[in-house]
């Protein structure tokens, strides 16, 4: 049972950067913008957070810097795709390329430097309970934050006027514009929120999980976050579930090896991508369930002549 709790805790830790980045991207995509630059924003968040933490000694400053870094990258993407109406696929790829390069340049002086360990929640009594204690009460702050984020995004999207506007912009930007909403304004906010969350996800790697800065340390997690958004059919709670499943697979694979079971690590690492394709097909094949599928304006530029 102790092992089970440990596996679950590890899975949550492995999943948290994905939860953060995927939830951010989900909001951006719900507004109709496909930003393939998640990896680039995450890695900028990772270095920005690490550099700020070392400079200030404050974890909070580090996290804020990571969010700022990610949001600035997303702003750049917004200028290209929303103001200049550039192609979103190409812009996203450019953003990833730029982010990986810039972070490597920026991080040159930070390789091999060590950050202080990240504070963990500890409630006397509760955190010491067997199994559930550490699982529920003994995680680091960002795990709770990521859960709160999912809940908040789910609530805002489904229950609030702001969420309604966001969805309207993503489903039919002309109608939203005709009613008088600023399509471009809403999308800027959504994309920058996505960037901030991707930055935070990157910082989770460099400040909490390792905590170190190394070049290319996101190692493709941005792409997995993108896949998760689709896997989740653009629903926040499903994104959380998808990320946790993914984390669980990763961790189980490591544990099964330590237990001496035979698994092909490389074949197993294909599973998330294949699962995403299967889910994509399932949600798009049935036109009655098309509501669940992609926001109708996803990836399309908007221009209102006025």
């Amino acid at each position: 049972m102790e092992l089970l709790a440990n596996i679950l805790i590890s899975a949550m830790i492995a999943a948290t950067p994905l939860v953060l980045a995927a939830t951010g991207e989900l909001v951006a995509e719900r507004s109709g913008v496909l930003n393939l630059g998640v990896e680039g924003m995450m890695i900028i968040g990772a270095i920005a957070g690490f550099a700020a933490l070392l400079a200030s000694g404050s974890v909070l400053v580090g996290l804020l810097a990571a969010m700022l870094g990610g949001a600035l990258m997303a702003f750049l993407f917004g200028v290209l795709t929303l103001t200049f109406r550039a192609n979103q696929v190409a812009s996203g790829l450019a953003l990833t390329m730029f982010g990986l390069g810039l972070s490597a340049l920026w991080g040159q002086g930070y390789s091999g430097r060590s950050a202080p360990p990240f504070p963990r929640l500890s409630i006397p009594g509760l955190s010491d309970l067997p199994i559930l204690g550490r699982l529920v009460f003994g995680q680091d702050g960002l795990v709770y934050l990521s859960l709160a984020l999912v809940a908040a995004v789910a609530y805002v999207l489904a229950r609030t006027r702001a969420g309604l506007v966001l969805r309207a912009v993503g489903e039919n930007h002309h109608a939203a514009h005709a009613i008088g909403y600023s399509v471009v304004g809403v999308r800027y906010l959504a994309v920058m929120f996505g960037g901030a969350m991707a930055g935070l996800g990157g910082a989770y790697l460099s400040l909490v999980q390792t905590p170190l800065w190394v070049e290319r340390m996101t190692a493709g997690r941005g792409w997995i976050a993108l896949a998760l958004v689709v896997f989740a059919a653009w629903r926040p709670w499903r994104a959380l579930l998808g990320a946790y499943l993914f984390g669980l697979i990763t961790i189980l694979q490591l544990h099964s090896q330590a237990l001496g079971l035979e698994v092909d690590a490389q074949l197993l690492s294909m599973v998330p991508y294949l699962a995403t394709i299967v889910v994509l097909v399932l949600i798009s094949r049935d036109s009655a369930r098309a509501r669940l599928a992609a926001p109708a304006c996803l990836g399309k530029s908007f221009h209102a002549s006025s």
């Binding site: 496909l34 393939l36 750049l76 200028v79 290209l80 200049f84 109406r85 550039a86 192609n87 979103q88 696929v89 190409a90 812009s91 790829l93 450019a94 953003l95 390329m97 730029f98 982010g99 990986l100 390069g101 810039l102 972070s103 490597a104 340049l105 040159q108 002309h174 514009h177 005709a178 070049e215 493709g220 792409w223 993108l226 896949a227 689709v230 092909d264 490389q266 074949l267 690492s269 294909m270 991508y273 294949l274 995403t276 394709i277 994509l280 097909v281 798009s284 094949r285 036109s287 992609a294 990836g299 399309k300 530029s301 908007f302 221009h303 209102a304 002549s305 006025s306």
Partner: protein
Amino acid sequence: MLKLEPRREPSALMFYVTPFLAIALTLAAGLLLFRILGKPPVAAMQLIFIEPLRSLRGVSELLVKATPLILIACGLALGFRANVWNIGAEGQFAAGALSGGAVALAVYPATGWWLLPLMSLAGIAGGAAWAAIPALLRTRYNTSEILVSLMLAYVAVLLLGSLVHGALRDPDGMNFPESRLFQTALPVMIPGTRAHVGFLVALAVAGAAWLLLERHMAGFQIKVLGQAPRAARFGGFSEKRLIWACFLVSGGAAGLAGLFEAAGPVGQLVPALPAGYGFTAIIVAFLGRLHPAGIVLAGLLMALTYIGGETAQISMSLPSATTSVFQGMFLFFLLATDVLVAYRPRWIATRPARAGRPLQPPAKVEA
């Protein structure tokens, strides 16, 4: 404030001018970047953009690096024009190298004039087969081809790695993850260099793509599908057939590029074979304005930034990350200046009072 007005017709002038504008802006930003890095800016620029062109070796390497980029980008451009988004060329590249390479390894050590054509066909088939999956899912279930092709790119690269670690591993290679060296190789064009005939094939493919787009009915259909899908349906074109055609052609081209890379400069299957060509080719396709002639130039230019970046790293210890910052900026500027093709910038001194609802229906601009 600056306002963008849609042009009635896309500006032909801007269409050709903006790539050069983007290059100029990138150079300017690059000078700034080098200054910040504390490297002599002009000398760094010269190392990147001129030095590789001053020797036969540099030029031949340029052709080697540009070959897969041109091949893949020509195929992708057809699809992009039709609004069919194959962004998984990296996977089709890996699949092509894998299937073509597997043919050579399967008949090893037999060889002959027939082997290279057979490998090439297998490479094309492998790439096309990998691309057929997103095409099938898109036409059958209306599944987003962007995401499926991207996911499959990762699967293909992992598959290549897994097979090179296992079934295709060199039996005499001390268990290291590499295949045997192939018993045959692409003929070299310029003796003493690595420039292989694949470049000529890439040029031929670009020529064929140009003919197809400009002179053939299919090219017209592709354009109509891209610009006005509804008109295409009224015109009686089969959208499904075009999607299939775009994917099979771009997948086949990417597969051939992968096989050329494996059978040419590398000479074996290695896990690191897919070095990002499939993604860089997307940039090349846009930079070349989705036009085959432009793609040839763009492929060469992109190859130059890679090779020049290495030169600058060797002689000036410029960090290797500079190249990707540079390429990212390049694409940013290109995409940003692209707006001038379809829109006219207008400076409006003060914000005009809003005159209620727009009179004409808002124009929809496809990506």
